[in-house]
Structures are given as C-alpha cells and as structure tokens.
C-alpha cells in the first residue's frame, strides 16, 4: 500500500518536472478558480468565458513583456526598469504610422496611413532603435546607474508624448502628432480585420454564439486573445531557442562573470547591445498588441506602474526561467492584478456593507470605542488603493523570502555539454593522468 503511494508520488514528481505539465497545472487551477468565482458571483456562461478571456489577454501580454525582461535580466543580467518607455515607443509609432493621413472628424491628428502590418513592424523597429540609443552609451555603466538611465529614458518618452509641443508636429513636411496629454485615437480599421474578414471566422462567430452565447464583438475579442496566446508561444519559443544557442550561452556567461567572458575572447558589449535591442523590440511588440485594438491611448497608460508589474511577475516566476516568466505573469494577473477585485466582489456578495466613512480618520476613530465595522467598510471602499499596497508588500516579501522565485533556482549552465560526471568512467577522474 505504502509502496504504491510512494510510487504514485514519484511518478507525479517526475511528471511535475515537465514544464508543460507545470504550466498546464497552474493555469488549470487559475482558470478553474476563476470559473468557480464567476459561478459564485452568479455570472452567466458568457460572463464566465468573458472573465477567462480577459485573464488570458492580460496574462498573454504581461507574459510577453516578462519574457523579454527575462532575456534582459534573467539571462544577461541587464537591469532594465524602463520597460514602459519601450512599450510606449512601440505603440505610439505604430499608431502614428497606421492612422489615416486625413484627420477627419474626431480623428484629431493625421498619421501616415500605412497598412497595419507595416505599422507594426515600424513600431517594433522603433522600440528596438530606442533600445539601441539607450544601450550604446549606457550599457557600460554600473547596473544601478544603468537602471536609473532606463527609468529616466522611460519618463522622457512619457513626458515627451504628453508635452504640448509634440501634440502635433510635422516631420519633413508630413503632419504627425502624439496627441499630447489628451491621447491619440486609433481611427483605423480593426487591426485584426485580416482574420475577422476571413470566411472561417464567421463560422467561429457562430460557434461561440452557440457555445457561450457570444455576440460578434465578444467572438472577436476571444479570437484576439487566442492570437495573443499564439504570439506568446512564439516569443517563448524564440527566447528558449536563443537561450540554448551558443549566443545564449555567452549571455549566461556574461551574467555570471562578464570579465571571465571577456577573457575568453567574447566581445561582451556587442552581445549585450544585441540582446538589449532584441528585448526592447519585443517589449515594443507587446506594447502594440496590448492596446492597439482600443479606441485610443493616453500617455497615462505608460506610467512606471507597468514596469513595476512586469518586475513582480518576473520575480514571482524566477529570473532566468522562461517557463517561470509565463507562470509568474499568470500568477501575478490571477492573484495580484485581478484577484483583489474579484475577492472584493465575492465578499460583497455575502456581506452587504453600509455606507463607508469618507476619511481614514472617520474609520479609525470608532475603533477606540471598540467598533471596527467602519474601518472594515472603509478598507473595502478603498480596496483598489490597498491592492497597490499589496503589490508592493508582495514584492518586498518575495525579495525577503524567495528572491529566486518559483523556478529561478534551476541551474541553467552556460556549457553546451552536461557537466555531470558520467558514472561509468570514473577510473581516471581526479587522480591525474599517469596513475596506471
């Protein structure tokens, strides 16, 4: 009986070793939990599927950026805290390229009117170029100075986009604009129309309609999230390949000891610049996919918060592991980003709170006389604020208790061959060559 149990245990443990199993298991738990939460909240089927779709969208986008950051920090040891800036460059350039040349109606500013695929490539290239501009002079700096430079760059981008001077400008006689603080309206056709106009898509709409009762809009959103998952898989594959290639081994060598890598004849600066540009371009791509289907974008979307979210996701998953990055972004979205709001809704389902006091003082004062109800009510009223506090505390807690995250403890050696000594040739090992 007991051997049977240990047997199953061992089998489960070996199964757990596979990354695909880990991802499936954790995501299965996340989706199941949210489906149950949806049921508990009395959502209809389409509401539940919609909740899961939104989760998928968020996890996919954050996952892409986390993977790109993992390429920077996890593999190469480049400390980038200007993520929001590179995402902003990608999205804004794409939007400015794609907007029609004729600013009619509420469209405010003119664009170049390029087809969407070209605009996306343009945005990705621009984000990569931004990375190059930062990397060439700054990469030789100490890690903390480099970090400050990247966050300053991100703020320069954000403030530049916000400024009135660039709200509308002309470059070589072409009218363009960032829209300033009021933002930019995406008055082009749905970027996903390439897919939505396919014959097959109408049957997809019918299918989701009969399965979940989705309308065409929801079906499009679902398809969009599925496309994002495919892109995420692609990026995962790309970075996984990169990290296992000779190029990736040099990156790991740089992370472990840059001088040693140099002494082996590797031009580490070249490698660092290349990998930084690649990561920034991917961040730009994620920035584009994040918001280019919305009606518009404002610079507010690219506050340093975004960078902070991605770092939490990376640390949860564990720097240096691509699987960890995807898991980290899943757990971040499920627990820290969306979790608190759903928790609040669940509690409100069970308990009806009266009017909350308006101020903190009004909630604390009754505690002195033993009445904690106003404080609880105030806490719930201000739940969105507390969610951010929770994120900060979570990051501090992780850094204290588990800085290596879920999967960061894995040894990813920089060698191409396994470094474990084979068991059958221990005759000469450790004894020198002339023992016989």
């Amino acid at each position: 009986m007991s051997t049977n149990a240990t047997d199953t245990r061992v089998r489960l443990e070996t199964l757990w070793e596979h990354d695909a199993v880990k991802i499936l298991a954790i995501f299965g738990v996340i989706y199941l939990t949210y489906a149950l939460i949806g049921l508990a909240l009395g959502y209809s089927l389409d509401g539940i599927v919609n909740t899961l779709r939104r989760m998928t969208y968020l996890i996919a986008v954050y996952g892409m950026v986390t993977l790109a950051l993992n390429l920077h920090w996890g593999y190469t040891g480049i400390f980038n805290i200007g993520i929001a800036g590179f995402m902003a460059v990608g999205l804004y350039v794409t939007m400015m390229l794609a907007k029609p040349t004729d600013p009619a109606g509420a469209a405010q500013y003119a664009g170049l009117g390029l087809p969407m695929p070209v605009a996306i490539v343009g945005g990705v290239v621009a984000a990569g170029l931004a990375g190059l501009i930062v990397a060439i002079p700054a990469l030789r700096l100490r890690a903390d100075y480099f970090a400050i430079t990247t966050i300053a760059f991100a703020e320069i981008v954000r403030l530049g986009i916000t400024s009135g001077a660039l709200q509308e400008f002309s470059l070589f006689g072409i009218e363009l604009g960032t829209g300033g603080g009021r933002g930019l309206i995406g008055n082009y056709g749905d970027p996903m129309n390439v897919i939505f106009e396919l014959e097959v898509f109408s049957s997809f709409v019918d299918l989701t309609n009969s399965l979940f009762g989705f309308g065409p809009r929801q079906a499009r959103a679902l398809a969009y999230s599925m496309v994002l998952v495919i892109v995420l898989t692609g990026i995962y594959w790309l970075i996984q390949r990169t990290s296992r290639s000779p190029f990736g081994r040099v990156l790991k060598a740089i992370r472990e000891d840059e001088e040693a890598a140099q002494s082996l004849g590797k031009n580490t600066n070249h490698f660092k610049i290349k990998v930084f540009v690649l990561g920034c371009a991917l961040m730009g791509l994620a920035g584009i996919l994040w918001r280019f289907r919305r009606t518009g974008v404002t610079p507010e979307a690219f506050r340093p918060h975004v960078t902070f979210y991605i770092w939490i996701a990376l640390i949860i998953g564990g720097a240096g592991s691509n699987t960890g990055s995807v898991l980290g972004s899943g757990l971040f979205v499920a627990i820290l980003f969306e979790g608190p709001q759903y928790f609040r809704r669940l509690v409100e389902q069970v308990i009806t709170f009266g009017d909350a006091p308006n101020t903190f003082a009004g909630s604390v004062a009754p505690i002195l006389s033993g009445n904690t109800a106003p404080f609880v009510r105030y806490t719930f009223e201000e739940f969105q604020t507390l969610q951010f506090v929770l994120m900060g505390v979570a990051l501090v807690f992780l850094m204290h208790r588990r800085p290596e995250g879920l999967l960061g403890h894995r040894e990813e050696t920089a060698a191409a061959i396994p470094l474990i000594r084979r068991s059958n040739d221990d005759s000469t090992a450790g004894r020198g060559g002339d023992s016989s």
């Binding site: 400390f79 890690a143 403030l159 902070f308 003082a361 604020t385 990051l395 501090v396």
Partner: protein
Amino acid sequence: MTTEQLLTLVVGLGAFLLLGDLFIGILNGTYSISRVARYAVEGTLYGLIIGLAGIGLSMTYSILNFANFAHGDYVTSGAFFGWGVTYLVAGWGTANFGHLVLVGPQRGVGGSQLEITITSTPVAIMAGLLVAGVGTALFVYLIDRIAYKPMRGSGGIPLLITSIGVAFALRYLIVFVYSNRTRGTTSGDLPSLDLLLVDGWVSVDAHDATLIIAAIALMLGVHLMLQRTKLGKAMRAMSDNRDLALVTGIPTEQIIRWTWMIGGGLAGSAGYLMVLWTGTIDWQFGWLLLLLIFAAVILGGIGSIYGAIFGGLTIGISMHLSMVWLPGGDFTTITAFLIMILVLMIKPAGLFGGKTTA
C-alpha cells in the same frame, strides 16, 4: 580621443553656446533680464529642496550601497506628517481632530481658511517642520527595520528591487490614509520683497525666504555633524570602507540606523518645505521628485553631501533656465533627466567624485 572626451567636448561646446546665446540675448534685449532672473530665483529655490532631499539619498546610497527608490515617498510622508501638525496647531478647535491631522482629506477647512502663512502662524509652521523631520526620521527607521534590515548583506540590486516595492506600498498607503485629493495648504496673503530689475520685477516672498533659511540651516547642521562629531566621523569611515570600519570597532549597525534617520529627517523636512513653497500637497509629489533627486545626487557624485547640494542647485536652475529656450515648462523635467544621463555618460563618478561622505 576617447568617446568620453569627445562627449565632454560636445557637451561643453553646447553649454558654451547656450550661455553665450543667453548673454547676447540679454544684452540685445531678446530675453528679458527680469524673466531670466525670475527663472534663476525659482530654480535656486527648487534646487535647494532637491539638494536637501538629496543629502539623505546620497548618504544611504554610499553607506548601504544601494539606490533607494523609496526616498521620494519619504519626502511625501514627511510633508503629510508635518502639515498635519501645522493644521492642528493653526486650526485647533475649528474642525475635528481627524480632519486636521489628515491635512484635510475632504473639502472643508483648509490652508486658506486657516490662514496659514509663515507670518501669521509661525508657531504652527515651526512645529510642523520639526515633526516633519523627527517623524520621518522615526518612520524611516521603522521601514528600515521591516524592509531592509533582514537583507542587509544582499547586493545593491536585490535591495534596489525591494526599495521599489517599498516605494509602491508606501505611496498607496499614503493615499489610503490621506486620500488622493490635491489640496491647497497656505493662504496666498504674503508679504513679499519686490526688486525692480531693469525691465520688470523679481519678487521673493516670505515663504521663499523661509525655505532658503531653513534649507541652509539644515545643510549647515549636517555639515557640522559630519565634520565635528564622532558620529559624523564614523559615518564617513563607513562610507569609505565598511569592513575596515567594522574591524576598527565602529558599531556599523548603529551608524546605519543614524544614517537612515538623518537622511529620512532631511527628506521629510524637504517635503515639508516644498509644500510650504508651492502651497499645495498631493500624494505623489515626492515620487515625481525622486528622479530629479537622483539626477542631483549623481551629478554631484554619490556619497558627497556637498555634491548633492551642488547637484540639486544645478538641476533646479538648469530646469528653470531651460524655459528661456523651451517655453511652456513641458521640457523642464526632460532637461533635468538629459543632464543626468549626460553626466552618467561623461563622468559617472559625478563632479565631486569619489566615495566620501564629506
């Protein structure tokens, strides 16, 4: 010629051209003298605040060896602590205790109703400044105990990441307690000194003067503390070489505690003075100030308090003078960040270089 020398040459040439343009522009009347002077005065005042807050950041950066991203939120916390006391003293009895100590989280009695100015309510402002300093010092010590002490031996980067988490938690805790409303804290009725400068007026009001006096007094205090006291000597020794300080018998943990408290106290005072000067308070002004403080500290050279003061003034003045060429004020912060990045490129050790808290 190395890249650095080339960059230095380009930057030097650029600075020379700008100053030349400014000089010629003033002489031939393109730029109004009084306007340039007003920018210079505003820039100096702003620079004093940045410099004052920068001293603490510079000290912890060199002694604990990490860039503390929570420093900006220490500035905000100090301002709220201090202004709560100022409201209490100035408005005792006019509104309930909670409303006053939370600096008026809701509409109602505020700075203008309480008629808070340095001339009409000097005691309230003195008390507020004192509490801002002492309160923040204790608060920062508490944060160190909770967040940083458990990872004292870690490298600079894990500590930096932790401090980002601390900053985030602290900022939204401030929103939770004090609300996210931006409010006025002083009444506009102030005596001021107006100087006629060729083509217009340059005015310095009583709050500007208070800021100058308080900031300089605090800076002088830190200078004396570092140079004349045993604690100061120990701090300088630690920032030079921590291991050596430890084997010499300097109680390093105690010195770290004092460093946090002094740095925090200065940050809190800077926040308080900033609110006195601008007349408004909100939950994220310290965070927005943080990168400027970093710019000042890096410009001056990490570890040097005189560098931080000098860097603060340079950043403040160049930010405001940039409006001569780039009107509207959209580019002041961008100017400061670009200066910081340039300094990092050319002289990463800062102008006052070296790791000495002196």
